[in-house]
């Protein structure tokens, strides 16, 4: 898994509540056997016209959004299906962090396993960030995972929560399967009793 320590990047806002995984990547793009190339399908039905050309009014197609690695989304981001293709598409496109007031459970788990940081902020900070994105398109934020802070252009830093285990895994780039396999003796002991 890629490491996540700090990230300094422009912000792109998609201020829609309950963005589901069918919007993040529509089901017709799931007929793949690997993870590569899914960035092109990110938000496909919002991003492209019927003929495949970029819709000029969509947030990700704005000049100020180019190269942005931080996505600011509405409440309850990633609801719906369990498809890990959603974080694969976000990462494939170039995002490393998503900011929202809340994330759906399965999406959050999937994101953390792929080095994509879900940043939860309170509604007031969320509103301030939306305003910032509108007034100063392409404004730059700094995410510091070790300090658990998000720093706004004015220098104000807000802290965000993350559980200690996920934080440690992201900081070191450790993947969770290695950690899980270290419990082999306990798993074998459990199986000896239970099956």
């Amino acid at each position: 898994m890629p490491q996540f320590t700090t990230l300094t990047s422009r912000l792109v806002a998609l201020p829609v509540n309950d963005i589901d995984t069918d919007q993040i990547i529509p089901a017709r793009y799931l007929k793949v056997t690997d993870k590569a190339g899914l960035g092109a399908a990110l938000f496909a039905d919002w991003r492209y016209d019927a003929d495949g050309s970029p819709k000029p009014d969509f947030a990700l197609n704005q000049p100020a959004a180019q190269g942005a690695q931080i996505l600011l989304a509405g409440d309850n981001f990633g609801c719906g299906s369990s498809r890990e293709h959603a974080p694969w598409a976000l990462i494939g496109y170039g995002f490393r962090a998503v900011i929202s007031t809340s994330f759906a459970d399965i999406f959050r788990n999937n994101a953390l396993k792929n080095g994509l940081l879900p940043v939860v902020v309170d509604p007031a900070t969320h509103a301030e960030l939306l305003e910032l994105a509108e007034e100063a398109p392409g404004a730059t934020l700094v995410v510091d995972l070790a300090a658990q802070t998000l720093t706004l252009p004015g220098g104000r830093a807000v802290s965000f929560p993350i559980d200690g285990f996920s934080k440690a895994c992201l900081l070191k780039g450790t993947d969770e399967l290695g950690y899980l396999l270290s419990f082999e003796p306990q798993i074998a002991a459990y199986e000896a009793v239970h099956s």
């Binding site: 309950d18 089901a27 793949v32 609801c79 719906g80």
Partner: protein, 469 residues
């Protein structure tokens, strides 16, 4: 010393914790791992890259459902990508020694239909699948939830997952359902009440007389859509209805083992005085048939209701969301849904494709015809459901009414297999998601029960089925 009263969820959780380090997720043992073609290929690639084996092929069961066409298993799959994904599952199962209910198996079907049907799903188990509707299996009093592909790989390799303990949320349903109102209407009413994020971080437990009165198939419909309320899992305590359903099924225990299992399962229901982190109460008797009007399952209404007006909402983001949804759906604030014309009716999916769902729909179709210009697709949840429905003559009822009777699969619920809406088309669908484009790019979905779907098929518009019974 008296022990603390526990919920059903806490009992199952505690019985499956293999290890737990401080400030870390629990190592949770998984009893049954279901896999399908869409969310597993990258997990097998990961196993190969690390030189790992599948730890418990005997606890792993595979089928193909999302990408398969429903026209006939004997015709070649024209979609090259879908065909490649299905072939990958066949190859992976052969290589790692996993039982596969493949294309021509009489037991193939939607993974959440065949698990219970085969008796693989049992009370007290932990069950996972790379599919969010794994919550379906909670109807048996099993802790069942959807996982991502990295987690599929973890379960294949270690038969365990790293999990943080969720909180509990009691959904208590009083009273009895009225005529023409079904378990689908209970779950749509719940989600309309609490919203699509209402259950985030929680596991639902459905309790109360209205739940007790439901059959297993009706209970599965409710648990299936727990995820649409944001809860990864939804549980119903096992009872005689559960045991009667399971007795004699292929993988259910037999003889003395059955008696021992039932004795164990009787200990599972939540103890008197067990505490939930949250509770909500619904009155089944007050429910009407439900239908959605928007672009997530929380945007639902009693069928005689009117589309809400964004201008009455104070929260700016909610107003924006409703505006956007109504624009996509082509609906006006304040308009009734009754009488809204529809182009397509889909009866199927892991929510409502079991024999009792098909019987209800067929009961309404009998002696009636599909409205001119409406396309109706009836897709059984499994080949076994198909066989039983045909033995009862339900297929004839559907065909004579003018509906299309198909082979088992996810079909138009996910629209990645050839069955899909055209842009702008309206569908009444018994499936679980009305997200933008879910049933085909530009397609517009009204979620409802099989009865409400059948009523719309016959009249050509959204109809209160109670007027037809």
């Amino acid at each position: 010393m008296a022990t603390m009263p526990q919920t059903l969820f806490e009992k199952i959780w505690d019985a499956h914790v293999v290890a737990q380090e401080p400030d870390s997720p629990a190592v949770l043992y998984i009893d049954l791992h279901l896999i399908h073609e869409v969310t597993s290929p990258q997990a097998f690639t990961g196993l190969r890259a690390r030189g790992l084996k599948v730890r418990r092929p005997d606890r792993t069961v595979a089928t193909m459902d999302h990408g398969i066409p429903t026209y006939s298993p004997d015709l070649p799959i024209l979609d090259e990508l879908a065909a490649r994904q299905i072939k990958a599952l066949e190859d992976n199962c052969a290589e790692f020694g996993i039982r596969l209910y493949g294309l021509r198996s009489p037991n193939r079907g939607i993974v959440h239909v065949i698990g219970p049907e085969l008796g693989l799903t049992q009370p007290g188990m932990t069950i996972v699948c790379g599919d969010s509707h794994t919550s379906t299996h909670g109807a048996f009093g099993a802790l069942a939830f959807g996982i991502g592909t990295s987690e599929v790989e973890m379960v294949l390799a270690a038969q365990c997952l790293l999990q943080r303990k969720p909180r509990t949320y009691q959904v208590h349903v009083e009273g009895q359902l009225g005529r023409g109102v079904s378990s689908k209407d209970i779950i749509l009413a719940l989600i309309a009440r609490i919203g699509v994020g209402g259950g985030t971080g929680h596991v639902f437990e459905y309790t109360g007389p209205a739940i007790r009165a439901l059959t297993m198939e009706q209970r599965m419909t409710i648990c299936n859509m727990s995820i649409e309320g944001g809860a990864r899992a939804g549980l119903i305590a096992p009872d005689e209805t559960t045991f009667d359903y399971l007795a004699g099924r292929e993988y259910a225990p037999r003889g003395a083992a059955w008696d021992a299992a039932v004795a164990r399962w009787r200990q599972l229901p939540s103890d008197e005085g067990a505490v939930y982190d949250k509770t909500v109460t619904l009155d089944a008797a007050a429910l009407e048939p439900m239908i959605t009007y928007g672009t997530n399952p929380g945007m639902g209404l009693p069928i005689t209701g009117r589309v809400p007006d964004p201008d009455t909402l104070s929260d700016a983001n909610q107003k924006l969301a409703l505006d956007k949804a109504l624009k996509y759906m082509g609906l006006r604030p304040g308009q009734p849904l009754l009488g809204q014309p529809v182009d397509v009716v889909f009866i199927g999916s892991c929510t409502n494709s079991r024999l009792s769902d098909l019987r209800l729909a067929a009961g309404l179709f009998k002696g009636r015809k599909v409205a001119p210009g409406v396309r109706v697709l009836v897709v059984p949840g499994s080949q076994e459901v198909k066989k039983q429905a045909e033995a009862e003559g339900l297929d004839r009822v559907f065909r004579e009414a003018g509906a299309d009777w198909r082979y088992a699969g996810c079909s138009m619920c996910i629209a990645m297999n050839g069955d899909q809406l055209q842009p702008g088309q309206y569908a009444v669908s018994t499936s679980n998601r009305n997200f933008e484009g879910r049933q085909g790019k530009g397609g517009r979905t009204f979620l409802a029960s099989p009865l409400t779907a059948a009523a719309a098929a016959i009249t050509g518009c959204i109809t209160d089925v109670r007027t037809m019974l």
